[in-house]
């Protein structure tokens, strides 16, 4: 299995195709529903004014996400007596909920990889071609297995969103994913959806015997 280091270069992004299994090592940031909405509203569409530590978090995220990877994940995290965080269970969450935001966030921060499950739609696929970037599918529900690849929790932002919704900065080693949307505009999800729609049509045209 090919090993890919984060940050990911454009050349590496372009060399990967739908169906390729890879492992990722380096620093990634978890972000899901509340985090995506907050990024979009505060820094991209400017629907709300930055407040509290917003600008400070933004500056930190800009560095982490440039060439970096967003992981759609709301982990189970435990804290040791000394206050250190540990990822106990950390599989992917369903990505399509971030479809309204993802493409714009990839462009704004130069995000090279988005990890999640279930795939994303046309807007994100378009951004994958432009940035360029990749959608990377982790195995949904494999939470204990994936948490093992998280070597250290480097920090957390916006914990007030709740533990599942916060930005967790994590260092991973050999985190396994499959490329399911690539910079060439290919999407395994679009392909499977079209194929299954055709089979459904045939199944529904058969009457019960």
């Amino acid at each position: 299995m090919r090993k890919v280091q984060i940050p990911i270069s454009d050349d590496v992004v372009r060399s990967l195709e739908v169906g390729d299994p890879i492992t990722l090592s380096g620093v990634m940031v978890t972000a899901r529903d509340a985090a995506h909405k907050w990024l979009m509203d505060t820094f991209i569409t400017h629907k709300r004014e930055p407040q509290g530590d917003d600008l400070e978090v933004y500056e930190a995220l800009k560095k982490l996400l440039n060439g970096g990877v967003i992981y759609h994940c709301g982990p189970v995290v435990s804290q040791t007596e000394t206050g250190e965080y540990r990822f106990v269970a950390a599989g992917p969450t369903t990505s399509i909920r971030e479809e309204p935001y993802q493409g714009d966030i990839m462009r704004h921060f130069n995000v090279k990889g988005v990890i999640g499950k279930g795939g994303m739609g046309a807007k994100t696929l378009q951004a994958c071609q432009e940035v360029p970037g990749l959608y990377l599918h982790a195995v949904g529900g494999a939470a204990s297995w994936l948490a093992q690849t998280v070597k250290r929790v480097l920090g957390v932002y916006k914990l007030e969103f709740g533990a599942p919704e916060a930005f967790w900065v994590i260092e991973v080693e050999d985190f396994p994913v499959v490329v399911t949307m690539d910079a060439g505009g290919n999407s395994l999800h679009a392909e499977i959806e079209a194929r299954s729609a055709k089979v459904l049509e045939d199944l529904l045209s058969e009457e019960t015997s």
Partner: protein, 293 residues
């Protein structure tokens, strides 16, 4: 009721970290049906390794430990108010011990309570009085990804590319297959379908979850529904969505159907999609002794 707290925490730990044997067996059979080296095969291999690891380390199988749904069957005279209280205490403690993720979010303020307690509906608790002196507590943990792809159809309806689904079992079949195709891999396939025919919008969703407590290899007592369960599973697998939506031979591990009486005017088909991480466990309390299934 305080004496039930630790046994209930153990029930939660078991449900969150130890997949029932019948589900694991079904996943192993699914692995055998996939092509070695394919993405589908790889996904199932990872799933099975994760199941073993979670059991060994007592860590959640999936980080989305879902809505804890309790079905409590209690002897006559037990206080459901006190039972509710001890269940809530057990849920909060299990969250503190990292068996559960804090999942209860106030819908108006977006604040997560941090301990999995919310209003009277979080966790969900159903009570039923039974004969005898045994307390039975069934627990299901149902994650959000699969809950989001659940569906309810009011027949007659148009499904797929506009095919009519009428108010009969053929219409039911069409609606269920449509729901599976729409779900793609987003409910963490291969899934298990809980289907309720009839009822009202509320009772039907309740029944579509309750029917999921039937074991994987337990056939429907109604021969007509048993046949339909097999047919829907087989046809859903022809869709080729496969594990995680990667493409492959197993999209659905099984189908469980139940029928409810309905109003003459209504004909609902309700589908609860359960992800492969089909977390359900039972606690039996009798004469001060506790056993788990």
């Amino acid at each position: 009721m305080e004496h039930l707290k630790e046994p209930l925490i153990e029930l939660i730990r078991l449900a969150a970290t130890n997949l029932p044997p019948d589900v694991e067996k079904s996943l192993r059979q699914a692995l055998e049906r996939e092509e070695p080296g394919s993405a589908a095969y790889g996904a199932l291999e990872t799933i099975l390794k994760n199941v073993e690891l979670s059991r060994r380390r007592s860590t959640p199988i999936c980080q989305d430990t879902g809505t804890p749904i309790f079905y409590v069957y209690h002897p006559e005279g037990w206080s459901t108010r006190k039972l509710r209280q001890v269940i809530q205490e057990a849920v909060a403690e299990a969250t503190r011990r990292s068996y559960l993720r804090p999942n209860s979010v106030d819908s108006l303020t977006d604040k997560n309570t941090g301990n999995n307690l919310g209003d009277d509906h979080f966790p969900t608790i159903h009570f039923e009085e039974v004969d005898g002196d045994t307390l039975t507590v069934d627990l299901m943990l149902k994650g959000g990804g699969c809950e989001n792809v659940g569906a309810q159809y009011s027949l007659p309806a148009r499904v797929g590319g506009g095919v009519p689904a009428g108010r009969d079992l053929e219409g039911v079949r069409r609606a269920v297959l449509d729901a599976v195709q729409k779900a793609q891999g987003q409910g963490c396939s291969p899934g298990i379908l809980g289907v309720a025919i009839g009822g009202d919008r509320g009772s039907a969703y309740y029944a579509s979850k309750e029917v999921l407590f039937r074991k994987m290899d337990e056939p429907n007592p109604d021969p007509q529904l048993a046949e339909m369960e097999e047919r829907i599973t087989e046809e859903a697998n022809q869709l080729g969505i496969g594990p995680m939506g990667f493409g492959g031979n197993t999209t659905v591990l099984g189908t469980k159907i139940t029928g409810l009486h309905r109003l003459p005017a209504s004909y609902f088909v309700t589908i609860s999609y359960m992800c492969w991480a089909y977390r359900r466990r039972r606690m039996i309390w009798k004469d001060g002794q506790v056993t788990y299934e």
